[in-house]
C-alpha cells in the first residue's frame, strides 16, 4: 500500500537518520518511524551530525 506523509509548513519529517518534507514510504516501513520536527531542530540535528563526522 502506498503511503505518503508530508510535514506541516516549516517542519521536517525524520526517522532519526533521514530528513524530508514529503516522505513516500517504502514497503514495510511504518509511519510510526517518523516524527515531525521544527526547522530549528532540523538545523540543530545537522550541526550535530557534522560535528560527529
Amino acid at each position: 500500500m502506498k503511503i505518503t506523509i508530508r510535514a506541516d509548513e516549516g517542519k521536517w519529517l525524520t526517522d532519526g537518520e533521514n530528513y524530508g518534507k514529503t516522505i513516500d514510504l517504502g514497503e514495510g516501513v511504518s509511519v510510526d518511524n517518523y516524527t515531525e520536527i521544527t526547522e530549528e531542530e532540523y538545523q540543530e540535528k545537522l550541526k550535530e551530525a557534522e560535528a560527529d563526522e
Partner: protein, 252 residues
C-alpha cells in the same frame, strides 16, 4: 637593351644575390655564378634549419609536457589513499586530468575526495565499491556538473556526500546502490540522472531511503510531488518510483 646593358644587368644581379661588390668582368661573372647559388643554398639551409629547429622544439616541448603529465598521473594512481585527493580550489579542470577509472583500494577511504574543488567534470569512472567511506566526497564541490560512472560502496559512511553540490546536473550510476543517499542540494539533476539513480537502487534491500530535491524531480518529470494526480499509476514517474517500492523516497 644593348649587349652592354644586358651584361651590366647580369653583373648587378650577381653582385646583389652573391653579396659581392666591385667591378665584374666576364670571367668574374662566370666564377661568381657559383657563389650566387651557394649563398642561396646556405641561406636556405640556415633558414630551413632554424625553422625546423623551432618547429621541432615546439613539438618536442608539447610532447614533453604531455609525457611528463602522463607520468605524473601514472604515479598518482599508485597513491595509497584517495581521500582528499582533489580537495580544495587548486584542483580545476585545467590540472585535473585522470586518464582511467579511479578505483581506491579495498578498505581505504575516499572521504572529501573532491571537497571544495572547482572541477566541473569527474572525467573518468569512479569505482568506489570497496571504499570504507565517502563522507564529504563532493562536499561544496559547487562547480561540479558531471559525475561519470560512479559505483557506490555497499556499506560504510556516506555523510554529507552531496552537501553543497548544487551545480550537479549529470550523474551516471553503475552497479547497485545499497546505502541511503541524499541528493537534496542537487536541484539541477537531469531526468536521465534521476532515472540512473533510481534504476541503480537495489531491488533486494529494505529500510533504505533516497532523498531528492523536490524541485529536481518536479522539473525533470513535469510533475508536482505534492500533487499525486500529476503522476498517477501507470505514469512515467510513478512506474519509475515504484519499480523500487522497497525504497523510501524522501523529497525536500
Amino acid at each position: 637593351m644593348s649587349v652592354n646593358e644586358k651584361m651590366t644587368a647580369i653583373a648587378d644581379a650577381i653582385r646583389g644575390y652573391g653579396g659581392i661588390t666591385g667591378k665584374l668582368n666576364l670571367d668574374d661573372m662566370a666564377n661568381r655564378i657559383g657563389t650566387v647559388y651557394l649563398n642561396g643554398y646556405d641561406e636556405g639551409n640556415a633558414q630551413g634549419k632554424d625553422e625546423g629547429r623551432q618547429e621541432g622544439y615546439s613539438l618536442g616541448f608539447e610532447e614533453g609536457k604531455t609525457a611528463e603529465r602522463s607520468e605524473f598521473w601514472e604515479e598518482y594512481y599508485t597513491t595509497a589513499s584517495w581521500a582528499y585527493a582533489f580537495y580544495g580550489a587548486f584542483w580545476s579542470d585545467k590540472n585535473y586530468n585522470p586518464h582511467k577509472t579511479i578505483k581506491p583500494a579495498a578498505g581505504t577511504s575516499a572521504a572529501a575526495m573532491y571537497q571544495t574543488s572547482t572541477i566541473t567534470d569527474t572525467k573518468v569512472p569512479l569505482d568506489l565499491s570497496d571504499v570504507s567511506s565517502i563522507n564529504y566526497i563532493f562536499y561544496n564541490a559547487k562547480y561540479l556538473k558531471t559525475i561519470r560512472g560512479i559505483t557506490f560502496p555497499e556499506s560504510g559512511t556516506i555523510a554529507s556526500a552531496f552537501t553543497g553540490c548544487t551545480a550537479l546536473e549529470n550523474i551516471t550510476v553503475s552497479g547497485s546502490i545499497q546505502i541511503s543517499l541524499v541528493f537534496t542540494p542537487c536541484k539541477l539533476l537531469s531526468k536521465a540522472s534521476i532515472e540512473s539513480i533510481i534504476n541503480a537502487l537495489s531491488a533486494t534491500t529494505s529500510g533504505l531511503t533516497v532523498t531528492f530535491s523536490k524541485e529536481a524531480v518536479d522539473n525533470a518529470f513535469g510533475i508536482d510531488i505534492d500533487d499525486e494526480s500529476t503522476y498517477p499509476e501507470g505514469s512515467e514517474y510513478y512506474n519509475l518510483r515504484y519499480s523500487k517500492s522497497n525504497w523510501t523516497f524522501s523529497y525536500v
